[in-house]
């Protein structure tokens, strides 16, 4: 995680107060390599002096827009970019056009959301895995790195689909993940009609991770919606 926090982040926004808020929030979370710019020109100059690992760009800047700025920045760097937009849901430019943005945040936002997105993009782009790629529930340990479950001292391997499903559920632990989202993760687009297959896989997963598969305590069914992985480790 240290590697992640050391990444250099360039924040570009024309509102100095917001710049301070953004850098304070990131600084508080442990991102110490932050530098800021108020205009496109300043941003280009700053990027030339020291290359950034992530750009946090406002869409509207006094001397141009964030998209044009990103294009210029990308000439010399392939660092990911997150846009800050004040347009809300209506900003199709980010959603639809795929202008090379890795994510976007709609103003106003909470520090929590900002950190979450910055961390997620950095993790994805720089392939930084979280140290904790395993979890334990009621005497069963799931190790994603090994792709296996250890139950009662026995090592049970997970199949590829089971691995994907369990990972997806674990990423959204204690929340309902819909059948559609699970099928989409495991079988991709055009997954329709996979519900029965999904049910079979869930049943097998329960046999592997539940002590009493017929009375599941962790891998629960949300009737009509999907499944939920309940983990009370926090």
């Amino acid at each position: 995680m240290k590697e992640l926090k050391n990444k250099k982040i360039l924040i570009v926004d024309d509102e100095p107060e917001l710049l301070r808020v953004l850098s304070d929030a990131l600084y508080k979370d442990g991102f110490y390599n932050i530098y800021t710019a108020k205009t496109c020109a300043e941003a280009l100059k700053a990027a030339k002096e020291q290359s950034a690992s992530l750009y946090l760009l406002d869409v509207n800047l006094p001397d141009g827009d964030g998209f044009a700025l990103l294009e210029r920045l990308r000439e010399s760097s392939s660092a990911p970019a997150i846009f800050l937009t004040a347009r809300g849901e209506a900003d199709d430019r980010i959603k639809g056009l795929g202008l090379g943005a890795d994510d976007y945040i709609v103003k106003p936002f909470l520090a929590k959301e900002l950190i979450l997105r910055v961390t997620a993009v950095l993790k994805r782009v720089y392939k930084i895995e979280e140290a904790k790629a395993a979890f334990g529930i009621s005497g069963v340990t799931v190790d994603f790195e090994a792709g296996s479950v250890s139950k009662g001292g026995k090592e049970i391997p997970l199949t590829a689909k089971e691995y994907i499903l369990l990972k997806k559920l674990w990423e959204n632990k204690n929340k309902i993940v819909t059948n559609d989202a699970l099928c989409m993760a495991a079988w991709g687009e055009g997954y329709y009609g996979c519900e029965n297959t999904l049910m079979v896989h869930i049943r097998r997963l329960r046999k592997k991770i539940e002590l009493e598969p017929s009375k599941p305590k962790h891998l629960l069914t949300a009737k009509g919606l999907g499944y939920k992985l309940v983990i009370n480790d926090e």
């Binding site: 509102e15 107060e17 917001l18 808020v21 953004l22 304070d24 929030a25 508080k28 004040a86 347009r87 809300g88 849901e89 209506a90 199709d92 639809g96 709609v106 103003k107 106003p108 936002f109 909470l110 520090a111 929590k112 929340k175 309902i176 993940v177 819909t178 059948n179 559609d180 989202a181 329709y192 009609g193 519900e195 949300a222 009737k223 009509g224 919606l225 999907g226």
Partner: protein, 441 residues
């Protein structure tokens, strides 16, 4: 086919046929009037008058004065062919006639004088008219001609009628096609479609007026749309401008709320600021959406949306957010393949609003049932709870955007469904019962 134009066309043809028949009758009478000639007839009467008034005296005949009109003459020929009495006799009239002479003149002329002859016991009374006073023509018709006359008249009438109808059809069709263009144009005008009719023919002026009206409607609509979009742009501009300062407010209050240097009470106050800031954020989002929906804007990015996964997603999100802990959600989605053409994020918003309404308005919990099925060409989604229901006023004014942001959920959902060509009905019946109907793709 255009009904009105067809009616006009039929009326026109029938009227033409009736007019033709009336004209034929009038013309027939007129013809008889023209054909009648009183002069020819009156000569015969004069002859009769002369015959009555010609009296035999001693050795000759005598006629009262003034019976023979001016320029006329009269003679009486005995059975030997000699003139035994004459009045005004011109010099070029012979005084003796052979049988041949008599036969020749009987029907025709005597030395170019038109003559009328009356056979009497006294002899042959001949009335002469001035030269070129009348024409005489011989008319001979067979009895067959007389017998078939009524049939022939009927035949001619029928031919006339057909011809008139044919002509009326031809001219009527031309009129009809022009009328059709015209009525089509006026109908389009009613639907506020652009109209450009060719400005010629008998409807030139009407066409020009219709075109003018269309142009002015278009101009007005454009002005209205410009005003609406100006307002809409202004709203989105303002909300855009509010977002940045709001980010600062929320960012800072959020920071204060977590600050360890502050007392618990102060941190609580900072939290309140954050919560209120987030409320403003939601209001801005609603304002933007409402302002675009208010003008019945068509959803800009329609895609084929599978409704069941959408319902599951929204329901899961609401459960996951923890607000629905007291509620029980039951889903009965029957047509897994149901697809509608829609802006996914808008429909998601509508479904969210409806479920969220039931959750937030029933603080003590309720059971929410979501049923989905297909009926004919529609996809039906029913969202029903067994809670306390919505205020009657809200249900009655579902189509109105409320003046305040409070109670926006239902009207917003209503608008969203409407701009997708669907229907939303709401009623209180042991809880709030909502039915959404969207056209099936």
């Amino acid at each position: 086919m255009n009904k009105t134009s067809l009616k006009i066309f039929v009326c026109f043809t029938l009227t033409s046929a009736v007019i033709t028949v009336i004209l034929l009758c009038v013309n027939f009478l007129g013809y008889s009037y023209i054909a009648s000639d009183s002069d020819g007839e009156s000569s015969k009467k004069t002859l009769a008058l002369i015959s009555e008034n010609l009296t035999q005296t001693g050795g000759g005949f005598e006629l009262a004065e003034g019976i023979i009109p001016d320029g006329y003459w009269c003679v009486l020929i005995d059975e030997n062919g000699d003139i035994i009495w004459a009045e005004n006799k011109p010099g070029d009239i012979p005084s003796h006639y052979s049988i041949n002479d008599v036969a020749k003149m009987t029907h025709w002329f005597l030395n170019d004088y038109p003559v009328f002859v009356r056979a009497e016991e006294r002899g042959l009374l001949v009335l002469g008219m001035p030269k070129k006073a009348v024409g005489k023509y011989e008319m001979i018709y067979s009895m067959n001609w007389f017998r078939t006359l009524p049939q022939r008249i009927l035949k001619i009438l029928a031919i006339n009628l057909c011809f008139a109808a044919l002509l009326a059809c031809v001219f009527g069709f031309r009129l009809y096609s022009r009328l059709r263009a015209l009525t089509g144009g006026i109908a389009d005008l009613g639907r506020e479609r652009a109209v450009k009719l060719p400005e010629r023919g008998i409807f030139r002026e009407i066409s020009a007026s219709v075109n003018l009206a269309s142009a002015s409607i278009e101009r007005k609509n454009a002005a209205l749309a410009a005003r609406d979009s100006a307002r809409s742009n202004w709203i989105s501009g303002i909300s855009h401008d509010i977002r940045t300062p709001l980010s600062v407010i929320i960012g800072r209050s959020d920071e204060l709320a977590k600050s360890e240097g502050l007392s618990a009470a102060e941190r609580k106050k900072a939290e309140t600021i954050t919560a209120q800031g987030l409320k403003i954020k939601k209001l801005i989002e609603d304002l933007n959406l409402i302002s675009s929906l208010e003008y019945d804007m068509q959803p800009s990015k329609k895609t084929a949306v599978k409704i069941c996964p959408l319902i599951r997603r929204v329901a899961s999100d609401i459960i996951n957010s923890g607000v629905a802990d007291k509620c029980e959600l039951e889903l009965d989605l029957r047509n897994e393949k149901s697809t509608v053409s829609a802006d996914e994020s808008l429909i998601e918003r509508a479904v969210f609003n409806l479920i969220n309404n039931s959750v937030t308005h029933n603080e003590n919990g309720c059971k929410i049932t979501i049923t989905q099925y297909e009926e004919r060409e529609s996809v039906i989604v029913k969202i029903a709870d067994n809670g306390k229901g919505a205020p009657q006023e809200t249900i009655e004014n579902i189509a109105e955007i409320p003046k305040a942001a409070h109670g926006l959920g239902l009207p917003m959902a209503y608008r969203i469904i409407c701009v997708h060509g669907g229907r939303l009905t709401a009623k209180n019946d042991g809880g709030l019962k909502i039915q959404i109907e969207l056209p099936k793709l």
